[in-house]
Symmetry: C2
Subunit: 231 residues, 2 copies
DNA sequence: GGCGTGACTATACACAGGCACAGTTGGCTG
DNA sequence: CAGCCAACTGTGCCTGTGTATAGTCACGCC
């Protein structure tokens, strides 16, 4: 947990983990085979087992990795405002989000920790604004679930909005809708307004999207990859 | 949806379907085996295949069954107010909900239809109240996703609230939290207030409803199984 | 140079899961 | 009763999947 091996992180083990993350995120855990993961990572099935031992080991590695990365994202997101996620979700980070969403739904071992961490962050945020809270904890729980709902159901939301939820336009429209739907006071008013002004013209902007190539993702900071060190 | 074959529905095919519904809902589709379903239904694995042909056939049957049933529930729920679900979710109906939640997350074939139907219902409801709507459709989509989020993540929400989400107390606390979190105007004010008054003392009440005459919305209907006909 | 170590592969095995097939039973109709 | 159909079961095959094992290659170190 000490060093952050950025370059060595791109080889072997990490490539497999990333591939697994994607596969798990889009197919689910049970439906994903280790051979799928291996193929997607461009390695032999045996190497997967060499590095992670068992399929559950692989899942565990994905869990801890994704958890650490996302907590940070969520912390920044919630602290900045109230909206589902930051303005733009990078290519890599979007997979993190999708993975965690699915891990939450299936009962991945780390799911409990993930959810409770998110609740804690949200609750801390709610405590800041002081809504007339009878049951602050319940509010935090429900709000967390609501925000995650958009993520978990990103495919359907995306279809309904006719955009990818994680694209710039998608985030903007979801955020705007959230602003209208959520009680004012959750985000303080002027900040909300600046958001609104900000977001309204976002769709026009073409916006730099993340690089599509998965081989060389040396672009460091478009959306804060937050690589916690390996496993 | 026309006839309700109550007794014939309890035999063979229907028993298998119900068992499948539960298994799929709690384990997910890929992780559930036809042998599991057969065992849970108390029949031989071959009978499952005899009735539904293939595993996908079984899923399809579950989809259409659950869809029809839930649409009705949701329609009543959203029309009555804004809250996630009716006051109390019956044993059978709760499995429907859980199943649909999972069907939505995995990309079950009927998932699209389900989600869009729910969006349509919600959008119709939103059109009633007139919120200053710049993007009504997006609001409907996001609100639907938010409401479903609580359902999809019911395990975590339940743990966070230390109650089963589908129990009476669970529904009450979630509803109250939603009232506080969602923008006023989504539910019109007096109705919301009556809800609040109604819900606040719900946990205390043991079982029988001491309903004030003012809340004239339809009768609480303790469980409401809503069995659409077979297949 | 010898050599251990770790990344990586090929192969194989045990087993579970989906599915096919041939029955058996029981109830209904002629 | 004969005939038939549908519900239901036992059994087995074949593929796919997780995992174990043995082996190859490259590289750093004495």
């Amino acid at each position: 947990m000490a060093a952050a091996p950025h370059s060595s992180d791109l080889t072997g083990r990490a490539r497999i983990r990333n591939a697994a993350l994607r596969q798990f995120a889009e197919r689910g855990f049970a439906a994903t085979t280790m051979r799928d993961v291996a193929t997607a990572a461009g390695v032999s099935p045996a190497l997967v087992q060499h590095h992670f031992g068992t399929k559950d080991g692989l899942r565990e590695a994905c869990d801890t990795y994704a958890l650490a990365a996302y907590i940070d994202i969520a912390e920044r997101g919630v602290t900045k405002g109230e909206l589902p996620d930051g303005h733009h979700i990078g290519e890599e980070a979007s997979w993190l989000v999708r993975y965690l969403a699915l891990a939450l739904v299936e009962d991945s071992p780390a799911a409990t920790a993930i959810f409770e961490a998110l609740v804690a962050v949200t609750e801390g945020h709610l405590r800041t604004r002081d809504v007339g809270a009878t049951d602050l904890h319940a509010q935090a729980v429900v709000l967390t679930a609501m925000r995650l709902g958009v993520t978990v159901l990103h495919r359907h939301v995306g279809r309904g909005l006719d955009t990818d939820v994680f694209s710039e336009e998608g985030v903007a429209r979801v955020s705007l809708a959230s602003l209208d739907l959520l009680a004012p006071g959750l985000v303080d008013t002027d900040l909300a307004e600046s958001w609104r002004a900000d977001l309204t013209d976002l769709p026009q902007r073409t916006g730099q999207s993340a690089d599509p190539s998965e081989t060389a993702r040396s672009t460091p900071q478009p959306t804060q990859e937050v690589p916690p060190d390996d496993v």
